[in-house]
Symmetry: C3
Subunit: 287 residues, 3 copies
Amino acid sequence: MNHPELLSNSLSHEQLDTQVILQHVVNAWKQLQTQQPLVQCITNIVAANYAANILLAAGASPAMVDNPFEAESFTTISGALSINVGTPHTEQMQAMRISAQTAQRTDTPWVLDPVGYGAVLPWRTEMVNELLTYKPTVIRGNASEISTLAGDQNVESKGVDSTLKSADVYEHAKVLLEHCECVAISGESDYIISKEYNAVIQVNGGSHLQPKVTATGCALGALTAAYCAVTTPTIACIAAHVHFAIAGKLAFQKAQTVGSFNVAFLDHVHGLTDETIEQYGDVQVLT
Amino acid sequence: MNHPELLSNSLSHEQLDTQVILQHVVNAWKQLQTQQPLVQCITNIVAANYAANILLAAGASPAMVDNPFEAESFTTISGALSINVGTPHTEQMQAMRISAQTAQRTDTPWVLDPVGYGAVLPWRTEMVNELLTYKPTVIRGNASEISTLAGDQNVESKGVDSTLKSADVYEHAKVLLEHCECVAISGESDYIISKEYNAVIQVNGGSHLQPKVTATGCALGALTAAYCAVTTPTIACIAAHVHFAIAGKLAFQKAQTVGSFNVAFLDHVHGLTDETIEQYGDVQVLT
Amino acid sequence: MNHPELLSNSLSHEQLDTQVILQHVVNAWKQLQTQQPLVQCITNIVAANYAANILLAAGASPAMVDNPFEAESFTTISGALSINVGTPHTEQMQAMRISAQTAQRTDTPWVLDPVGYGAVLPWRTEMVNELLTYKPTVIRGNASEISTLAGDQNVESKGVDSTLKSADVYEHAKVLLEHCECVAISGESDYIISKEYNAVIQVNGGSHLQPKVTATGCALGALTAAYCAVTTPTIACIAAHVHFAIAGKLAFQKAQTVGSFNVAFLDHVHGLTDETIEQYGDVQVLT
């Protein structure tokens, strides 16, 4: 069952299909358990505790270092970086700039989560525009954020929640590959747009209760960064989204109310196995 | 069962009684589910995650935008604003001022939660005094905070916990109606002081475990703001407090230890129905 | 069973053994319930909510006052102070300095948690070095942090997680008693180094899942501060670590997955009794 050769970086000419992808996910998940990579998270006050718990449960080692005086040295030793602009203040914004620049310079993979991107939140939007120039490995967001980032001027803002469907956005979002290796759009189904494979991978699963738990998207961005520390960007995105989709699906089988669901979700993020990946992983290659 | 006419703003001459109030609460709760209002929360690092989860569970759409560079534009599109001075820093304080001024200017309902108000915490106390001039829709706090805010110089401070009983404070607290439409005092019983009805409404229920869960008061302030986006200030205060009182009562029936209680509490905040409101809502009009 | 005389400060000549220690812990825990001391916590955005919930569940009254404009007056009325340098920013660092100075001046016990101390995080490391001059009552950390603080230059940094075992560090860590009354090192077993007794006390228990829940160490520092408000530094350290060790052990008996474990852990932090202390408390005096 184990195909370590699939972890090589020269996947470009490989034919992706569901079985191949799930085997990559299994390997990425095993690498995450083995390497327990250090993941620097610059994130918001809503997500900080939750994202740290998700990363620990998934097998990574999170550290929320978000001040400008330690950003450079800490990014240098980190396996990956996650930047989330949810509740910025001036010093944290400075840390984002320094860490993103450092990640680019040191070839450290990093994920950009443009929470609330759009005209109503101009400060972070300007910062996200600057951060794009430091070439994130992955851009991850909900459909409204990604669509606005991709140039759609007509997205109605509802704070940090999406007013669009991910299925309606992914075609348009391909333009964002000029900035990054992968774009990941979360929603009822998730869509991973891969530059390497010139493909869109759809990930199904999860539960309608996930958007009822705050910071699940933010934590998914942090988990994507964790996987980026151990595998290629495309597989990292797919693995993180499959990890969440399976945990959400199994959690909902156990608990149908939002507080209990959230506890069960953390249980299943921690309890993922190669068997559950192979049994419940639901991905398909669209293009 | 549905009396949409009760949602009108011209309630002043209506006779309030328990049945009328509970019908208003049912309608307000239904409006919350339908409208899912965007609620801007400027809150503390203890409450941020919890308040967001409570608002999502209750049906609203929270966003913790708390920087001064986005405060004005974001308040403008928000259905309501919640300001909580729990763990302020300079930029957040600036955001509070800007958002409160914007809310006043744009007639956006807003709730002020004066956490820790008193001489031992002079910085926030001065800020709260300034914020009062921007006319909050609702002032919400525990008995110590409300009593001190109402001019009592002899309240012993114990940080952010109350040393007084809500039942001993509400008479004195009526002076605060010069600043706002409603005053809400949480405690073993909650007391809502309404300018519109010239009445005090007592809300019973909850559990003695609620004060053992941090940030329940902060989250109640945020929920009050959410209801303010969909109904009148008085009904919003009552609805938020009834919502919490029922969820606390039912959660305690399911779980008598503090960690499990908190999970069950979130379940029941999410699981409220018109039936549970009518069956468990326990309110009485005092004056 | 009750030996109130053991609470006196003149314990220096007493012979410590397991039974004597557990009786002290019982008394300290009872004092915590009775006095419910106000504990000021200057802590990080990951731990703030969790540490507050742990303190409330354990019987204390937490307040996360962390701005420099209120730090002095608030420390003055607090029963104890907990300083944790996990996610500092400039104003919070100023608050740490002021509160530590105030605690030293007013003989308020205080706990220093040097999260991530080491060359990769120079800003906090410099601040911790300064804070040591204000004589913390207790220094608490994981094995990597404590070993580095004690002068070991060769500790490999992995963010905020430890790369060393607590059992390998405590001998070396005794040098830190020049700064404080007690050093507490958490790990698979915990080690309390007491100046007063010239002894090392080993605390066993807990669960391997505890490091999988973020901020348990930070919360343990805050709980140590809470106990410092009601008993001597050595007993406070032991009591806090025994409290966590028993809660972790009993929680794991109830729940073996990380989300459910965390809920059960909070239940058992709240549900500690003199019986469970006497039955499950596992301490031994090493020197």
